[in-house]
């Protein structure tokens, strides 16, 4: 276990990488013995620096939800990060790649809560009843390290590799559709580039949100009414480039779209 001065220093280094656009060495390389708890403390420090600079937390993201990513990292549980006001873009937004380092795009379902969820003991029924609506969403993941060859403590420390996200304007009541079988279609410049379904996320996005509530509950943290929860990628990560136009459509919910311009920093 790393002492607090060390996790603070590593969190500061990640914050500096985020603000400067210059990558920082991986935690797994600098501190090979670090564990996931250390990584969450580093994440918390990086977040605190953002809040000190005036940002606010508006929700959470769940990562490492797909079998393929879990196999790649050898970690068989999800992780989470915090999403802030500064990361939020509206449906149809154009994102300047110059504000990101090594961005990749994911299509997923986001939940907006209408009541608090406090674990442990949160069930899928609790999640459905606490959900105001679900909406299609792009998460632009990013890494503040040298490259994407990262380990579990790296991605956790780096806010679960969250970059920015685009929230759809289409909304559906989760009681009106089968979130596990609802198909997702990702299109880039008018061509289908990937398809998936909610089942790709821990069997169902609702399961992933319940996992998050229960995991946070053990730490004494609740999910709050009004928070937005990004539930996890339903298809593999996609490369992005200047001029690309993406749509993400989910059965029974609707479509979200976005564009990219410029060049990434790394």
């Amino acid at each position: 276990m790393l002492d607090q001065s060390r996790t603070d220093a590593l969190g500061d280094a990640l914050y500096d990488a985020l603000t400067s656009g210059k990558p920082t060495p991986k935690i797994s390389a600098l501190e090979p013995d670090s564990d996931i708890e250390d990584a969450y403390r580093i994440q918390l420090r990086m977040l605190q620096r953002r809040l000190d600079a005036g940002d606010t937390v508006i929700g959470k993201k769940i990562g490492l939800t797909s079998r393929a990513i879990q196999d790649a990292l050898g970690v068989y549980q999800p992780d989470f990060g915090q999403v802030t006001q500064a990361m939020l873009f509206e449906d149809g937004a154009t994102i300047d790649l110059g504000t990101l380092m090594q961005p990749r795009l994911e299509g997923e379902l986001a939940f907006r809560l209408k009541s608090d969820l406090m674990g442990p003991g949160v069930t899928v029924t609790d999640v459905i009843r606490a959900t105001d609506y679900v909406t299609p969403c792009f998460e632009i993941v990013d890494t503040r390290f040298d490259d994407w060859q990262i380990k579990i403590q790296d991605t956790v420390a780096d806010n679960a590799s969250c970059g920015v996200f685009v929230l759809g304007s289409a909304q559906a009541d989760p009681r009106d559709l089968d979130l596990s079988l609802a198909g997702m279609v990702l299109e880039k410049n008018g061509e289908v580039i990937a398809t998936g379904a909610g089942a790709a996320v821990q069997g169902s996005p609702v399961m992933a949100v319940a996992w998050l509530a229960n995991t946070l509950g053990k730490l004494g943290i609740g999910l709050k009414a009004g928070e937005i929860i990004l539930s996890g990628a339903q298809a593999p990560l996609m490369a992005v480039a200047d001029g690309d136009h993406f749509t993400c459509e989910i059965a029974g919910v609707g479509k979200c779209e976005m564009r990219f311009k410029g060049e990434a920093q790394v």
Binding site: R67, S180, L181, E191, G196, A197
Partner: protein, 268 residues
């Protein structure tokens, strides 16, 4: 695709190749791909072999009840260097009921795919659009296809696979029938479970952007080989996920958004 290339293989040679494929199918014994003996075999000749096979099976009392499109995903097409699907015919003898046991002892190396099937209500012929297909569709429903290449090690080229009826072996209609305009087929999610574990996930748009696009292209290929698609045909649009290799004792369940599910158990 143009099929008016000159005939290089005699009708007798075509018949012999069809017999070779039919024997491999009937006795579940693998053969080498046809291009090993006929390296210049063309796609048009592949379809001539397939047609000879169809005539032979009809002569034995099988009835052609529909067609299937294969190679309908963009990655598979790129891999095979084609721009249209490969098609194959379906007969009543290939049909198996949903939620039942299917023998694999008479198959070589079976694989299972989840698809959306179209049942037509008017004849489709010539070059048609996806909209024409939708207008000609009575209903759509889930289907499983058991494919089985008759070639050793599933190693084949486009010409050989077409001669082998595009690997058609068994098909299983099931789930819930839906009017074609009642659901956006692009976003129909499909989850395939292999022995209770999620094995494959996809959505309808995986098939050429929309499954009806594959049916339209299939009708175009039928036109190229001098056929039409009669009313009442059962037509499978192509795999929504990668094929799952199966063996006796396995269970496959495919669940479709708003269209129910199909389970099959494989037995000796």
């Amino acid at each position: 695709m143009s099929f008016d290339t000159p005939k290089t293989l005699s009708d007798i040679a075509i018949e012999r190749l069809a017999e070779r494929v039919e024997t491999a199918q009937r006795y579940a014994t693998p053969i080498h791909k046809l291009t090993e003996d006929y390296p210049d075999l063309t796609v048009a000749e592949g379809y001539r072999v397939q047609t000879a096979l169809r005539r032979s099976l009809e002569g034995r009392g099988q009835q052609v009840i529909g067609w299937k499109a294969g190679l309908t995903s963009k990655p598979k097409m790129a891999q095979m260097g084609v721009s249209t699907p490969a098609i194959g015919f379906l007969t009543d003898a290939m049909e198996r009921p949903a939620n039942s046991a299917i023998s694999v002892s008479d198959l070589i190396h079976p694989r299972v795919e989840a698809e959306i099937a179209f049942v037509t209500k008017v004849e489709l012929s010539g070059k048609v659009s996806a909209a024409d297909v939708m207008a000609a569709t009575d209903y759509v429903q889930p289907a499983l296809e058991v494919i089985d290449s008759r070639f050793s090690g599933f190693k084949f080229d486009l010409e050989s696979v077409i001669a082998d009826n595009s690997s058609s072996a068994r098909f299983v209609p099931g789930g819930r029938m839906v009017r074609p305009d009642a659901l956006d087929l692009r976003t129909v999610g499909v989850v395939m479970e292999h022995n209770g574990q999620i094995a494959q996930i996809g959505a309808g748009a995986e098939v050429l952007g929309h499954p009806a696009e594959a049916i339209a292209m299939l009708v175009g290929v039928l036109d190229d080989i001098g056929e039409t698609l009669p009313a009442g045909s059962f037509v499978m649009a192509g795999a929504i996920t990668a094929a799952i290799p199966v063996k006796a004792g396995d269970t496959i369940t495919a669940r479709f958004y708003e269209m129910g599910s199909i389970t099959v158990t494989l037995t000796d």
